[in-house]
């Protein structure tokens, strides 16, 4: 395609329309791309950004960032990047001016150009020159640690370098020593960005096993050259990393978390953990330093601890119960938005799945915690009640397994848990007991039925093909417990029409139960009668209103 002649200057209103059309859909986008070539759009945008009095500079930068990827064709990439890098250099070097070249504009511009280069300059060999120019510009910015006025700009430049290092792993490996030095010298709030940058560089060195010396600063910071092993893909692997140096680096890094924000902490730990694994650092060290974060009210920090746990399960041996207890307590924090309270219970379920079970100890502690903490309270939102009832159902399953394990010990030991399962079910259901008189479409009824369903089939493995556990379920204590339980409601005549009425109201769910337990009426009709009898307790109002 031939380059179309540059068209007239676009007014701010034109730009607003163009941006809206690009965001809206492809058809409206074509309105513009059929008149303007991508490079002419770029030129017009850049000249507007570089003008003194243009009002929409930040929007234009965002536009370029979001759409460059789909805008430029292969043969235009280099030209586009050249223009962008010239433009970013002019913006960064322009004298600070609160109106036309504010620090916000400068920061935004370096971010956008970095982002565009990463997205359209996939092939390092093609865009080598542009990449080197950009990195050099960024390194010049970050190379003034602890200076006053430009600290925010330095932080942003570090973030840009970090994204480049993420996109082109080991790009900065040869200057890791310099970056470490900068990290140590930076004392303003920007130090977080330096630390994250350095951590990523180390992460890439370690996970890609690149043989570089971190203490050695013989390669100059600027002029910057992309390392050969990044360009050619030639391996710089050696048999071993410099463990001694790397451990020193880790000791430095692990001192820094208290200056990080919770978001940065999550990023930091996700980078540090793989390094710790490769370097075979003692997991207990990480545990001691970070497990306290679980007691923070910031959900991201709590999740960081869970991340550590999932990587180093053994190191937490013996502390599972306290972690589980804490997770359930997070769900009780009324100050937290509901979604985080629900998440905490899901984490608990995920956590339970990870904890190794030794000799039924796990089930025992789940039951202990459950009896203390899984009961819904009156003001818990129904969503939370519902999840807590799931957990109670899970407790009931554990109780059953425990009682089955204790079978040899005589009938009294079995009777204990049996009573408890009934109690769990009855106590749990109290929190939604309004199902007894509210209309069938009430949320309370839905939650109550769901719980009943959970108590009944919860023991079954959720693998659709596994039928052996299914049989086990049918013979399990919980099934018999429910039989006993439902028996107390069976003073009511079981008219077929009532069951039909019930099925009409809960058609989806009942069919579902049929499907999920994987048995047919003929096959297990006795059990099914129990199910239906027990189900009758749900729609009492159906019974109260003869058809």
């Amino acid at each position: 395609m031939t380059e179309k002649p540059p068209l007239k200057y676009l007014s701010p209103q034109d730009w607003e329309l163009l941006i809206e059309d690009f965001q809206y859909d492809v058809v409206r986008r074509e309105k513009w791309t059929s008149h303007y070539s991508p490079l002419s759009i770029l030129d017009l945008a850049l000249s507007s950004i570089l003008r003194k009095d243009f009002p929409l500079k930040l929007s234009l930068i965002s536009f370029l960032e979001e759409f460059s990827d789909s805008l430029f064709r292969n043969f235009e990439v280099q030209l586009a990047l050249d223009r962008l890098i010239d433009a970013v250099r002019s913006v960064v070097q322009a004298p600070h001016d609160a109106v036309s070249f504010s620090s916000a504009l400068k920061e935004r511009m370096v971010v956008a150009v970095t982002s565009i280069l990463i997205c359209i300059g996939n092939d390092v060999e093609v865009c080598l020159g542009q990449l080197e120019s950009l990195v050099e510009l960024l390194l010049t910015i970050v190379n003034r640690p602890s200076h006053g006025a430009d600290r925010q700009m330095r932080a942003v430049a570090c973030e840009c370098l970090r994204e480049l290092e993420r996109a082109f792993p080991c790009l900065l490996a040869e200057i890791a020593g310099h970056i470490w030095g900068l990290c140590q010298s930076e004392r303003t709030h920007a130090s977080q960005s330096y630390i994250l940058l350095f951590t990523l560089v180390i992460h890439n060195i370690v996970t890609r096993k690149v043989n570089v010396s971190i203490l050695n600063t013989s390669v100059p910071l600027v002029p910057f050259n992309v390392p050969q092993f990044v360009v050619g893909g030639s391996s710089r692997e050696v048999s071993g990393l410099n463990f001694k140096e790397l451990r020193r680096v880790m000791a430095f890094l692990l001192e820094s978390p208290q200056i990080l924000t919770p978001s940065a902490m999550m990023e930091f730990m996700s980078l540090v953990m793989p390094v710790a694994l490769v370097l075979e650092l003692q997991a207990s060290m990480l545990k001691v330093q970070f497990s306290g974060l679980l007691y923070s009210y910031d959900p991201m920090l709590c999740h960081v601890v869970l991340m550590i746990y999932s990587r180093f399960v053994d190191a937490f041996d013996g502390q599972e119960a306290s972690i589980a207890r804490r997770l359930v307590l997070i769900s009780r924090e009324a100050q937290l938005p509901l979604v985080f309270r629900l998440l905490a219970l899901h984490w608990l379920l995920g956590f339970i799945g990870l904890v190794p079970d030794s000799g039924g100890r796990k089930k025992q502690s789940i039951v202990e915690i459950g009896l203390g903490f899984f009961y819904p309270s009156v003001f818990d939102p129904l969503a939370l009640k519902s999840l807590k009832l799931d957990l109670l159902a899970f407790c009931a399953i554990c109780l059953n397994t425990l009682s089955a394990d204790n079978m040899g010990g005589g009938s009294s030991e079995v009777a204990g848990p049996r009573v408890s399962v009934v109690k769990l079910f009855e106590d749990g259901l109290v929190s939604v007991s309004a199902f007894k008189w509210l209309p069938p479409w009430s949320t309370e009824t839905a939650v109550a039925f769901r719980t009943f369903h959970k108590f009944l089939i919860g023991a079954r493995s959720h693998s659709d093909t596994d039928s052996s556990t299914n049989r086990t379920l049918m013979e399990s204590t919980i099934f018999h417990t429910l039989e006993v339980l439902s028996g107390s409601f069976l003073f009511l005549p079981l008219e077929t029409c009532l069951i039909t009425n019930f099925i009409n109201h809960f058609g989806g769910l009942s069919t579902l139960t049929l499907v999920t337990t994987g048995t047919t009426m003929d096959e297990k009709s006795a059990e099914w009668m129990v199910l239906f009898k027990a189900s009758i307790i749900m729609p009492l109002k159906v019974l109260a209103n003869p058809v």
Binding site: I116, R187, H189, A264, L349, F379, A383, K385, G507
Partner: protein, 627 residues
């Protein structure tokens, strides 16, 4: 996969059109690379599912959102599996969290299999829906697609690929929820810092401050010139909300979207899509104030990212304990009253440099403190010990040092009963007998106390009765009894208050339910509207029966169907001390490096859901643990 990155975010208005969107191409590039790798390997995959590598345009996203809304009954969705749940939909998963973490099908008409977009965090704030899409691995998306098609419902425990294990493995979802909430606060301007109250003292302020009793200091931008924020008023506005129909339908009337503030926040908090700092006050302080060459960093310490500025000026520390009391008062033998306290310690440390502050927390067991959670700046003490020391390096501005849940150490501040008896279909007699502040000693002061009886489904026609104390007013759907009003606080003594009366309502009319009635597939033609009064033993039961027939289902975010019950809600504010017993002794607060700074402490208690259930009617309750 670990850490948190955001692929894109959208904000929709109440007409379901996208009013703001932001895509993060760098993160998107990671997604596409991962998809490519996954799809190349998917020949071994028994799911035979290729992941959708592209982000939808705004119009595609809006269309998908509308389609889901239709399919799932509301913007949030059913949340649990119901008759209408379609296989592959969120509610098929049968988990309430699918009202917050949703999936959308892009271009559903094209009948492609791989058009699912997940996980989208849905946060509703003001009249906006915020959707945030974090980066996960393609295999996680596939796992969720599998969960959505399982025949068995509910959450499997300990099974790989279950929803819980996905949420456990994906901190990016947690991060994205934080992002969604932060953005919600930015667009509604709901970014007030926690309140720190200063009791009137010669060292602070003058006459005006002693008159108003408190000054609120907000905002880091006010570090040189504190601005008085409005005094926490005795609002009772929440009363009406409680009894009202709650639906997730967004409401009109919020302010227009401040896109500039939003862009500033996003550009600074996550320039490439990876969140770095979600603190609104820090980001806007940096935007407004910037830095000058004279802002020198400390010579020996690194300044934390969460404290971009250091305080300079006269030093002091302020602590405010703020407790909210929730109570369900039954006055019945078989149901014990339940009272719980959500408390927090708010702090403002006007200290130079980067000092550490510590103080002992004593009497935690006595106070019945159940849960303690701390600000990230605190070094968390060992849990479960009666005596703990908290050590923290305070950020600038007001912050919440810790949250706690506790029991009420002092007994309920308002106790007694509320009885409402319907003498006919449209006429009721009621009686309140309350005791306020029984056993409460000075300096505990109840600043105000109001009791409201909401009747969201009935229209109050007339009302008769005189309380022993206070004034009464009515509106169409509620009766409000002001027992103690501002200016005449109750200190050092208790009072008894009774209020007998009668109330008359407009005749009851069958109300058509909103469309969400079909929540559980109720058949519109079912014969629930039978009008036979003959076999009913009394008016109450008859009325309850009649009125409950067209009750709409409660939202899963509500604790129960509020409209199904008769109750009175108490609102009050108590100052002078906490009710849990949580306290901070200003003398025991130590600052290192040592500095002379006065420490002030105050506390205030307000009511949350403080409910007196009609002793003669139905009431929701929960079993309590008896271990």
């Amino acid at each position: 996969m670990a850490g948190c990155s955001i692929r894109a975010l959208w904000i929709l208005n109440n007409f379901d059109s996208v009013v703001f969107s932001r895509r993060f191409p760098v993160v998107e590039r990671q997604w596409r690379t991962a998809c490519k790798a996954e799809n190349e390997n998917s020949s071994n995959d028994n799911l035979n599912y290729t992941v959708y590598p592209l982000l939808p345009t705004d119009s595609e996203l809006a269309a998908a959102f509308v389609e889901r809304k239709k399919r799932e009954g509301s913007a949030r969705g059913f949340g649990i599996r119901v008759t209408q749940s379609a296989e592959g939909s969120d509610s098929w998963v049968d988990d309430p969290i699918t009202r917050h973490i949703i999936s959308l099908f892009i271009n559903k008409d094209e009948e492609r299999e791989n058009n699912m977009l997940w996980p989208l965090i849905l946060h509703m704030k003001g009249h906006y829906c915020i959707l945030v899409l974090p980066l996960v691995e393609p295999q996680h998306l596939k796992a969720y697609a599998g969960v959505c098609r399982r025949s068995d419902c509910g959450n499997a425990i300990g099974v790989p690929g279950s929803l819980s294990s996905l949420l456990f493995d994906l901190p990016s979802i947690t991060g994205a929820c934080m992002v969604a909430h932060a953005i919600g606060d930015v667009i509604t301007g709901d970014v007030v810092e926690p309140e720190v109250v200063v009791s009137a003292s010669p060292s602070v302020g003058g006459l005006l401050d002693s008159l108003t009793g408190s000054i609120g200091i907000s905002g880091i931008s006010t570090r040189t010139k504190p601005v008085a924020a409005p005094v926490a008023a005795s609002t009772t506005s929440s009363t009406a909300v409680i009894g009202a129909v709650t639906s997730d339908a967004p409401k009109f009337g919020s302010r227009p979207l401040d896109k500039d503030a939003l862009r500033t926040f996003i550009n600074s908090s996550m320039p490439f899509g990876t969140p770095l700092d979600l603190s609104y006050s820090n980001i806007f302080a940096i935007k407004v104030n910037g830095f000058s060459s004279s802002d020198l960093p400390l010579p020996d310490l690194k300044q934390p990212a969460w404290k971009p500025y250091l305080y300079k000026g006269k030093q002091r520390m302020l602590f405010t304990i703020h407790e909210t009391v929730h109570a369900a008062m039954y006055d019945r033998d078989e149901i014990p009253d339940s009272i719980s306290i959500s408390g927090q310690v708010n702090c403002r440390a006007e200290l130079e440099g980067l000092p550490d502050v510590s103080f002992p927390l004593t009497g935690l067991n006595k106070a019945g403190i159940e849960v303690l959670s701390f600000h990230p700046c605190a070094q968390v003490p060992e849990q479960g010990v009666d005596k703990q020391a908290v050590m923290f390096s305070p950020p600038l501005g007001n912050f919440v040092l810790m949250h706690y849940q506790a029991f009420c150490g002092l007994g309920p501040p308002v106790k007694g009963f509320y009885q409402l008896s319907m003498v006919s279909e449209d006429e009721g007699a009621f009686l309140f007998k309350l005791c306020l502040m029984e056993g409460y000693k000075a300096p505990l002061t109840m600043e105000f106390c109001t009791v409201t009886m909401p009747f969201p489904r009935r229209r109050v026609v007339s009302f008769d009765g005189t309380p022993s104390i206070g004034t009464v007013s009515t509106t169409e759907h509620l009766v409000e009894w002001k027992i103690i009003t501002g200016g005449r606080g109750l200190t050092g003594r208790s009072i008894e208050a009774t209020f007998p009366g009668t109330i008359k309502f407009a005749p009851w009319q069958i109300q058509r339910l909103p469309s969400s009635r079909s929540f559980l597939g109720a058949d519109e033609d079912s014969d629930f509207e039978t009008d036979s009064t003959n076999n009913m033993v009394n008016v109450e039961e008859f009325l309850m029966e009649k009125m409950s027939k067209d009750l709409p289902p409660a939202d899963l975010e509500e604790p129960f169907c509020w409209q199904a019950y008769n109750y009175a809600k108490v609102t009050f504010k108590i100052v002078g001390a906490s009710l849990s017993g949580m306290s901070i002794d200003p003398k025991s607060v130590s600052i290192y490096p040592a500095v002379k700074a006065p420490v002030e402490f105050s506390s205030q208690v307000t009511s949350g859901d403080y409910i007196l259930w009609n002793t003669l009617g139905k009431c929701p309750f929960a079993a309590t643990v008896k271990v």
